[in-house]
């Protein structure tokens, strides 16, 4: 079972599952947004059609090697995140690289994507892309603070930096971490709002203002890769949240239900929100979310 082929099989299966689930979630989010706006909305599988169409579209131009590599960088980030995050409890899924990395490694591999995207967008030479990138990176500095605080609180409380250990803690105690360390959960959820880049934090790729920002020169295969990477990344992040705060999942159906419950939070918050400017977004993240993060650390240290 330890052979290289088994590992590759695990990676491929995980990727396909993440792709399908992530794409469906994005389609569902479009549907739900439409229902909130009193529209009929596209079918939930609309994103698959879009992806298929983008794949079949020709891409006759590129602006240079970094634009070409940019989507691959993003893919590295999202697939690596997926590899590190344990999908199911108790090793019921392929282990992938679960035991080879930890939370801090995860924090860093997760920012690999934005940097790759930034490099790809930079080479296109479109000023809109560069503006979008600066906004995206600035916003990232904003939400990383509460996110790191939440993770530090967890790591301190249970004296481990491994995700698998944190899941074991929950399995043994029988309580989810969102109840044993509620402040960390709140801080992490608030940081997640920024991580998913829905409204009000969607100024990075504002379609009319910035012509979709970093993506503005990418179509066809590049956009297809970015889109699939986005859905894989969304699934990986949601799984991480479920693993950390909701006790993981025993089978895929439970996982899907739990992740969707988490996914509804940024989505529904986004539907009813207008858009923040970048500095407003940063100040938002350094306000209450950081306070909750601080509370989480204090809670973890003193209780």
């Amino acid at each position: 079972m330890d052979s290289i082929w088994y590992k590759i099989l695990g990676a491929v299966v995980s990727f396909i599952v993440a792709f399908i689930v992530g794409m469906t979630y994005m389609g569902l989010s479009r549907k739900i947004t439409a229902r909130v706006q009193n529209r009929k909305g596209p079918p939930f599988y609309q994103n698959f059609i879009d992806a298929m169409k983008l794949y079949s579209k020709s891409t006759a131009i590129h602006h240079g090697v970094m634009q070409h590599f940019g989507p691959a960088f993003i893919m590295v980030s999202s697939v690596m995140t997926l590899m590190i995050v344990p999908v199911l409890n108790d090793g019921r899924w392929f282990p992938n690289l679960n035991f080879q990395g930890d939370l801090i490694f995860l924090l860093y591999i997760m920012v690999f994507g934005p940097l790759g995207m930034a490099l790809g967008a930079g080479q296109t030479g479109n000023p809109n892309s560069a503006i979008g990138v600066t906004r995206g990176l600035s916003q990232m500095v904003g939400f990383e603070i509460p996110w790191v605080m939440a993770l530090v609180a967890l790591m301190v409380q249970f004296r481990t930096t491994s995700i698998v250990d944190l899941m074991d803690v929950q399995a043994q105690s029988g309580t989810w971490l969102m109840f044993t360390s509620p402040f960390a959960f709140i801080a992490a959820i608030l940081a997640m709002l920024g991580m998913f880049r829905y409204s009000p934090f969607d100024i990075v790729g504002a379609p009319t203002e910035l012509a979709s920002g970093p993506m503005s020169e990418n179509g066809g295969k590049y956009l297809f890769t970015m889109m699939s990477s986005g859905s894989v990344f969304a699934f990986a992040k949601l799984t991480l949240y479920v693993d950390l705060f909701m006790g993981g999942a025993d089978n895929l159906i439970v996982l899907v239900l739990k992740t969707f419950a988490i996914y509804l939070i940024p989505m529904l918050y986004g539907v009813v929100s207008p858009r923040y400017r970048t500095e407003q977004a940063i100040r938002y993240f350094w306000g209450w979310p950081t306070f909750f993060g601080l509370m989480a650390i204090l809670y973890a240290v003193f209780f």
Partner: protein
Amino acid sequence: MDIIYLIFLIFLAGAIISWLAGKVNHVLQDILFLASVIVPSVLFYMNVSVGQEVHFQAAGIDLSWGITAFGWIFSLIVLGLGSLAAIYSVGFMKGKERRGYFYFNYVLSIMAMLGILFSRDLVSFFIFWEIMTWSSYLMVIYNGQHTQSIGIKYFIFSAIGAYAMLTAIVVAHSVTGNFMIADLITAYPVLSFNLQLLIPILLLVGFGVKAALMPLHVWAPGAYSNSPMAYTSVFSGALSKMGVYGLTIVMLSMISHLPEGFWFREVLAWMGAITAAVGTLWAIKQDDAKKLLAYSSVAQLGYIVTGIAVGTELSILAGLFLAVMHAIFKSTLFMAVGAIERQTGTTNFTEVTGLIRKMPWTFLASLMSIIALAGIPPLGGFVGKWMLYESLITSDHFIMIVMVFFSSTAAFLYCYKFLFGFFLGQEEREWAHVKEAPAIMVVPMVILAGLSFVLGTFPGILLKPIDAGMQALGFASTYQHLWDTSIILNGWGNQVVLQPILYAILGIFVIFVVFLTLKGYKNTRYVTTKDISSSGEVPKEHENLTFSVNFFQPFMRAVEPAMRRQIDRYYNGFANGLEALFDFTRKIYTGNGQTYAIYVILFLIIMLLIKNNIFG
């Protein structure tokens, strides 16, 4: 004659000869210069073993030279980086003025730094320290008149540090009766508490200046950015590490004897963390690459100081690993800036854009170094950052880790600014003629970048000598407890296994690059950066579409309150105050002999009165 004398003799002779040889032949001068750096390095690694010492007497003082296992780590930085930067310098200085001056100071700095590592007594330590300061000062003012004020700033801070160190040496001599470092360390635990505090503080001021620690850092941006870039890579890469070297010895052999939980470590660690945050914020604001990298160096040295000040095994391992990594990637970046400056004549982000197709190798080296600097796996910076965070968590520095993490995330902003500003963005016609730098400059950069790649997966190569050095300073071996060839662990037993991660990253990357390339391979073609979707408008050739002014304006708006205070201003205020004081003093010292006579008489009367009062 001992080989150690020979090394220093070659250095000295090489410095002078390569200066004078410029009058004969430039090629000869280059060769002599390279020889005078590389030959002693080779001799050092071939013939000098750890623990080898020579003793001699000068002016009645016992002096002793020899390399310890701990100093050996830093000799890697000094000589390895020194040799590569020397090769680079030959290309960089080609066709420039005052090459002899440059070469002389360069060789002298390398010699002084090696001398510091060799010094086993405080006197030669101080002498080499001063040679290092002087030669680097001469480099700072290399560019002529307008750099005088920057040079003076550097010099004043260095002088403050040197006087502090000299005082410490005198105090130490009064305690131990000789100048040996080993004697001081053995005598330290039995000293009175005040002296226990005084000696490290004085030494730390001296080392803190070179390590650009927070209140003492103001000289660094100016000095780093005004020396010739070929030297700055050594200045920031190796010379600042001498401060770290001293700092580590002081921390480990003196401060560790202070009572447990004493504030000293915490204060120093916090100073490091604040240095990191402030340096990062200022780096984001810069529009000049040299300034940006200079502030970034300040910030990175902040991490190193934090790691060393926290003082657990893992944190010191992290600090020293980061020190070497910083030497590698920061010097590569300074070299890249030097190459760009040489090819384009400017280092301002708002002027230069779109060099990626003109200088691909420089870009590659910069990209690798930037990824290492940002601490993204699988490059070397990640290992250091990871160990630093883990050490902070396992030693209960929770707020500090958030602070450090903030500065490390914010570092992405200036990292991207560096890459975008120079290499990406619109390709302007103004820079169409730019060519890649000559091979003699590119090769050292690429070697260093490749080194940071190798160390990212096999940090054991570097952690082994670091571990040996730490054992020399009294730590237990950390092998297999905190690290293995390509595994890093924290104190709680959690680990990152680097090798499969590297393969996974490379595999995923290659798969998707192949996918992107093969899909529609035949029909894809390259278009210029003028061919962008700009609302249907056709940008004219001379139109500049680059976005580089006020690059991170929204972020700067968000952090504006923190940036309003500039420590420089306090120093300026202090200097103005001093000037007023000196003005006043000048009024007292009129230059008239009679007034002096009155002063002397008054002084004597007062002294007599006091004496009578006290003893009467």
